[in-house]
Symmetry: D2
Subunit: 503 residues, 4 copies
Amino acid sequence: YRSYKNLMWINGGNQIQFADQKQEFNKRPTKIGRRSLSRSISQSSTDSYGSAASYTDSSDDETSPRDKQQKNSKGNGDFCIKNIKQADFGRREIEIAEQEMPALMALRKRAQGEKPLAGAKVVGCTHITAQTAVLMETLTALGAQCRWAACNIYSTQNEVAAALAEGGFSVFAWKGESEDDFWWCIDRCVNLEGWQPNMILDDGGDLTHWIYKKYPNMFKKIKGIVEESVTGVHRLYQLSKAGKLCVPAMNVNDSVTKQKFDNLYCCRESILDGLKRTTDVMFGGKQVVVCGYGEVGKGCCAALKAMGSIVYVTEIDPICALQACMDGFRLVKLNEVIRQVDIVITCTGNKNVVVREYLDRMKNGCIVCNMGHSNTEIDVASLRTPELTWERVRSQVDHVIWPDGKRIVLLAEGRLLNLSCSTVPTFVLSITATTQALALIELYNAPEGRYKQDVYLLPKKMDEYVASLHLPTFDAHLTELSDEQAKYLGLNKNGPFKPNYYR
Amino acid sequence: YRSYKNLMWINGGNQIQFADQKQEFNKRPTKIGRRSLSRSISQSSTDSYGSAASYTDSSDDETSPRDKQQKNSKGNGDFCIKNIKQADFGRREIEIAEQEMPALMALRKRAQGEKPLAGAKVVGCTHITAQTAVLMETLTALGAQCRWAACNIYSTQNEVAAALAEGGFSVFAWKGESEDDFWWCIDRCVNLEGWQPNMILDDGGDLTHWIYKKYPNMFKKIKGIVEESVTGVHRLYQLSKAGKLCVPAMNVNDSVTKQKFDNLYCCRESILDGLKRTTDVMFGGKQVVVCGYGEVGKGCCAALKAMGSIVYVTEIDPICALQACMDGFRLVKLNEVIRQVDIVITCTGNKNVVVREYLDRMKNGCIVCNMGHSNTEIDVASLRTPELTWERVRSQVDHVIWPDGKRIVLLAEGRLLNLSCSTVPTFVLSITATTQALALIELYNAPEGRYKQDVYLLPKKMDEYVASLHLPTFDAHLTELSDEQAKYLGLNKNGPFKPNYYR
Amino acid sequence: YRSYKNLMWINGGNQIQFADQKQEFNKRPTKIGRRSLSRSISQSSTDSYGSAASYTDSSDDETSPRDKQQKNSKGNGDFCIKNIKQADFGRREIEIAEQEMPALMALRKRAQGEKPLAGAKVVGCTHITAQTAVLMETLTALGAQCRWAACNIYSTQNEVAAALAEGGFSVFAWKGESEDDFWWCIDRCVNLEGWQPNMILDDGGDLTHWIYKKYPNMFKKIKGIVEESVTGVHRLYQLSKAGKLCVPAMNVNDSVTKQKFDNLYCCRESILDGLKRTTDVMFGGKQVVVCGYGEVGKGCCAALKAMGSIVYVTEIDPICALQACMDGFRLVKLNEVIRQVDIVITCTGNKNVVVREYLDRMKNGCIVCNMGHSNTEIDVASLRTPELTWERVRSQVDHVIWPDGKRIVLLAEGRLLNLSCSTVPTFVLSITATTQALALIELYNAPEGRYKQDVYLLPKKMDEYVASLHLPTFDAHLTELSDEQAKYLGLNKNGPFKPNYYR
Amino acid sequence: YRSYKNLMWINGGNQIQFADQKQEFNKRPTKIGRRSLSRSISQSSTDSYGSAASYTDSSDDETSPRDKQQKNSKGNGDFCIKNIKQADFGRREIEIAEQEMPALMALRKRAQGEKPLAGAKVVGCTHITAQTAVLMETLTALGAQCRWAACNIYSTQNEVAAALAEGGFSVFAWKGESEDDFWWCIDRCVNLEGWQPNMILDDGGDLTHWIYKKYPNMFKKIKGIVEESVTGVHRLYQLSKAGKLCVPAMNVNDSVTKQKFDNLYCCRESILDGLKRTTDVMFGGKQVVVCGYGEVGKGCCAALKAMGSIVYVTEIDPICALQACMDGFRLVKLNEVIRQVDIVITCTGNKNVVVREYLDRMKNGCIVCNMGHSNTEIDVASLRTPELTWERVRSQVDHVIWPDGKRIVLLAEGRLLNLSCSTVPTFVLSITATTQALALIELYNAPEGRYKQDVYLLPKKMDEYVASLHLPTFDAHLTELSDEQAKYLGLNKNGPFKPNYYR
């Protein structure tokens, strides 16, 4: 979702300034707006086996992984993780994930014949989860060498990291890294005698910036950057604008397939899930106002309507507004319905959409949550005043109580509900991972001159290929154009079928 | 849901036999099919404040409540609970529940003028939860005296029991009673010098049976029994059939309003919730087969269709089958789709619907769960064979693994998904509690002769009244018939508007 | 649809009075509330081939069929129709109808082995359409002799009557009968030397009453009456109440299958069709109020919601009101939304629901129509005042214009929209015809004593059989109970699966 | 809809050749693919008052309008129409249309202050309908002078033309022009002593081409062309490509608002309407295959799913295919379901999607129709073989009968169903007309240099303005950005809110 303009707040609207980066990174873990951070937390909290979780906990000796001598069963020690003994358990998780990521498995199969990443030396910095492990092992099958660090200090699944290390990957990551650990791990990935990366796979831009800062000469050999996150993509566009981007970069965050799944389809399900898990609210008959009718708003509205809620919509853009009308939603201003609704959901990408004035007028028991990008859509700060009492009633659920006893139910303190209070389905992660793999292949194999020192969207044809790799999951059978039809339409039989700007 | 025929298994198809009841009660806690038991467990696990839970735990001294000297702040000691000190916290929970049970609050308001239960002495045996407390305090406001025990050894919210005791109620209940405690508590409710109950409110039939067994003479003064559960109602019909029912009884389980909410509307939401919480599955594009197209099946199908699943239905009854067709679902036999579906849901009330043969043919990763009454709809027993490996991957989630590596994902071991893996919304509980209160009022005030020694459904007019008390929640405005219209339709302006058999 | 109470107005609430019947019949063609009349008109206006229509018209010589000498190609002259030359064309229409009535064709196939109506002499009085012809030829295949008249003076398809006469049926009917013709035709059916009917198939009760009046002795040989219409059923109940019903009668109007199709499923489609054909209105974004949330209202609301309308509901019954809430519709009083809605639809079975006061307050361009039983739901009479101008803008569409220029768009002058302005799908007619055939078989073959001189609903098992005969149309496969399952459920493997009161 | 590539067949893929244009124009009336032609025919057949139609017919003297002396009541004779006496009736139709085109009326209101078209001399060539009259009178209110001809020889509403002539417009059009009349009328519009147009409003490109051919010098004074149709836009792009376009042109066909309404929202309703009007088919339970899941396909699928059909989808593009999956439709190849479906709908823009081989395998009674752009999606030509019998059963409905008696039901001979067999809602026409008016204003007032000699899409801001003018119809209230929010988002408070490529 959302234009990069919206992201100016991330670094204060300034150009990337490497000098004072430290300060920024210090604030990292509290920056809730970062999609990837939140995702990893909620995900790891539910994706793991119960037994695994406790195993991890019980092994909680206090020695830092950095201080331990580590070796896998083959004597390889070029990694740094929590506990190599968890490898078997991590392998089982990876195997389960493999079953739900058929697109990557299909790429591996194709790789038996050709190795499109032969010679590629990939450094990666992403969440270390079972799904990432499937990606890494796929890249290896495609011919690449990989070294990996975590893009988040909390999100590493230690048992998966162990399985990767045991399998021969140079992984540097554990759950609960300090900030110093975080940069140390990244550095260990990159800084190796006799080895230089030629591809970067990044999620958030930290790895990229570390290389910019410490090893700018490395870029001479680097063929390209694949970046997954909104934040990282934003940084790349800034670099590009400033004329400082010295290799081509692929923005996989904005590929059609990924966007539709991250927004419309995923949110259609996660709005229900997030609300149920936190509040057990019954949807039938409830009056709900959804602020914003972009893809996320469309998904939320469709789901709630289907469950028997009465849904109102607010919009600033007349075109989206007209769509809301035609889809059967009353278009209102927030103040017109704020007294009567049972649930308020923001998905605008804007700030201060639900301000204190509205919060004051909500009825007792009203649930307030945010599905949008920015954690400032609801002006939560305005609720931190002495006359209001906060009561934490469950994880991610606060009652804010007015002097007259009125309570509103605030979810995830205004942060992204779907990432804080529900989980991201593996299917969505599979689409992302496949897109990353194809983007690496494209950049690595592109003929000289196809890509300049700029930020690119995935070519439509690759986007279509990602989609096609996921159709077998649904036992879906695509029709092929006949030669005659292709000619009639002026299309290549194998696509691309849509113009690049198609959304 | 469902006919009483289906329940024969509960006590082996025999008549009620008081002599060997012990044995039956011994088996109680493992009888998963009992709707009320499961409900309470899931409910209490989520409805409580996190802090409360730990508070409860920390107060876990090992002395039995029966062995303690207990007094509330006014010196009253006619109760037996875990810890009177939790009263304040329980009161807060009750106050929150009050806000979500407006129908009972409306009854209290009306009670300022008239006291329809003045003189009523009610003994109750239900789950002791915040919602029950709101009911009990409403009965008191209506003029009744109440004594209460728990109908389940696990379901008592200790802090609520404390608040009730502090408020002057004679409550005998705590979480984690032994079977002996269970009957001791019931006996303490009933057996009091100088006090005789004249109304019974029961959930499961245990209280009723205790009185039958121990104090049969009490029935001389008892004006009626209100029974909530399928099981208890079944027992009453058996008593009636055997000519042993000696007072009128009201079956509130089968009132229209309660049924629609328990089945169609509640299941429409809980099927999604139950599947998400346990498996994080994405619904879009999934192929699902729903066995049975009664109210529960209709709710499941509607929800999944709305989320983008492709839904197949199996049915034995051609009328329901034709409804499925008209609602847009392909009607199939299970064996026609079993190899291709991603999710199998049973809601038939029947047994052995999903047998080993079908389980053998499911594809890898298929999710299997039961939304129907009986925990034998899926033949789970057939999966307990040596060649299959069971892996518990989360609470309520088992992977059953075939020798070739195929896994099926079995939820709640085939027990009711919505009660095991999701929660019952307060709105549904409110409808039940209001129905109970009105049934007590009706039986207590009915003129001599209106009710014989038989089991009755709530008069349609009362059912309509329950519904009308819940309309304000939705800010819903009912239209009134004009005199002329009422005459034209041959109806009383205040209802009943539908014949008694209307469903 | 709906209770018989509502029908009291049909004959002024009096008992059936044969003496002054004349007067009533005189008014027949203007009684718009009669479902069957309206149906036949709309149906014949669209079901016929264009060419046929003109053929019929061109043959419009002025001689009355009663004055013509008529013979079919085999020399048989025991019939009276418009023009035997149209037989070939009528046969083609019948053949097309056969393809869409597979259930009757299945009965014919079964009839090759057994003739359940062998010896039956059926007099019928229904609309003479291609669908009826399929029914009549099926009854003959089942062993019956048939003589037939039209139940409506306008609804006969002349070419179908010709085909029937050519095929040897004694048919007495043509389009545009006078009232005298009407009774003459019925009399010719019944009053034949050496032939006495033993079964009656009636639609509206006119045939039954003619026999009551003229040939009461005939009832000695008559085994039963099958009645299709609301009006006819009402008359039978009155006869029964008055102790004057002298044979058993089967009410096929109220069978579950027929009801669900006539109301919920049929109206879900016909509300859209009726509105589009008359007004070309776009549904998306329109605000609509639906008065009444019974089966008809539920169908209308579901369809309009799906098309993107914003739907409000009014109700008098709190149970239906609560259902509306849970299904996602705001429950309002009509006066709360009357100024803002674009479309008003009545489906209450009540009278004066939309009165002049509301009509005065509607906004310019508001569309008003009735889907309910009674043509007094909208107080159309109140619009016949001098200050309002009526403008007929299309067939079935009037603009009523206020002095200030405001127009409301009144459809079908408040009569049933779905019958006036759309058509009844053959599938619905097939269900009705199959039900009639099975009811005849049941009454004709019932052992002595099974049916008394009363009005009966079709046994649930027959209802289920009708449904099962229509499943193959949808390629729908019913599951069969195993012996073990049937025993567990306490059901017969072949049904009935539901209690008789199931709706 | 859809890319211009698809349109190459229209003129054989060649450049525009003025020399042999004659031949092309001769074929005009049989070119069914032309959206605007079909639309006008269906529209005029239903939009007119019944009485008007007959009036028109009765005035059918045989003198050509070109041979009559014509004057309106003010003595003005600069027009040529059928019959000036119909003016009053035409005025009433225009007034009714005004009520449904609030956006144009709003523009008129604004025009009281400013006259953005002051000095504009517009020649127009569009369908002459009541809606066009509202547009023309709006342009006049905005300051323009207008001269108008019909873009289609059949589509003129004579009474509307009369009202326009009476109102002082120079209109040259009547229903049933010959081809020679057609060009004569266009010439009369353009070729007037002492008057030169400076704006062109065209629908189909005929007017534009006439000026190119006959009066190329006129382009020196022309500020721009506004073109509405796919065909006309295609011609303009070809001119542009060939370097022959000598003024800026505005493509209003591809504005977002128009596209969404023409395709998704309009087709969602018209697929149901078109099928019902032609076949009275019941949708519930029917199996349908929809070929193509673009906007049109999405609309068709959503509507049919909502009505209880079981819908299959075929696609060639994996991205649209994945959307179909997530929306709950099975993605198949046509041959996999062709034997079992009841209805086949094409909306691909492709040719030969349903070929004879598939038609041979369809089951008896299968309905086949086309909602897509091209009338070659169904290979209707392949059905014109001797062994197949064609039977016209209604207007737009043919039965094609195989030797074994199998019939398929072919609608509109494979032409666009929604234009042939249903009507275009005034709301959609209002959006088009408003877009045309704003495009004229934009081109007329654009500062020198904003537009070059090229084809342009309407600026997003104008598109948004069209949308906003239609919101009041739905009583929809748009939210305004605060200054702070606009700054945060980097947007102007008044839009545009979306990038120009937004769809």
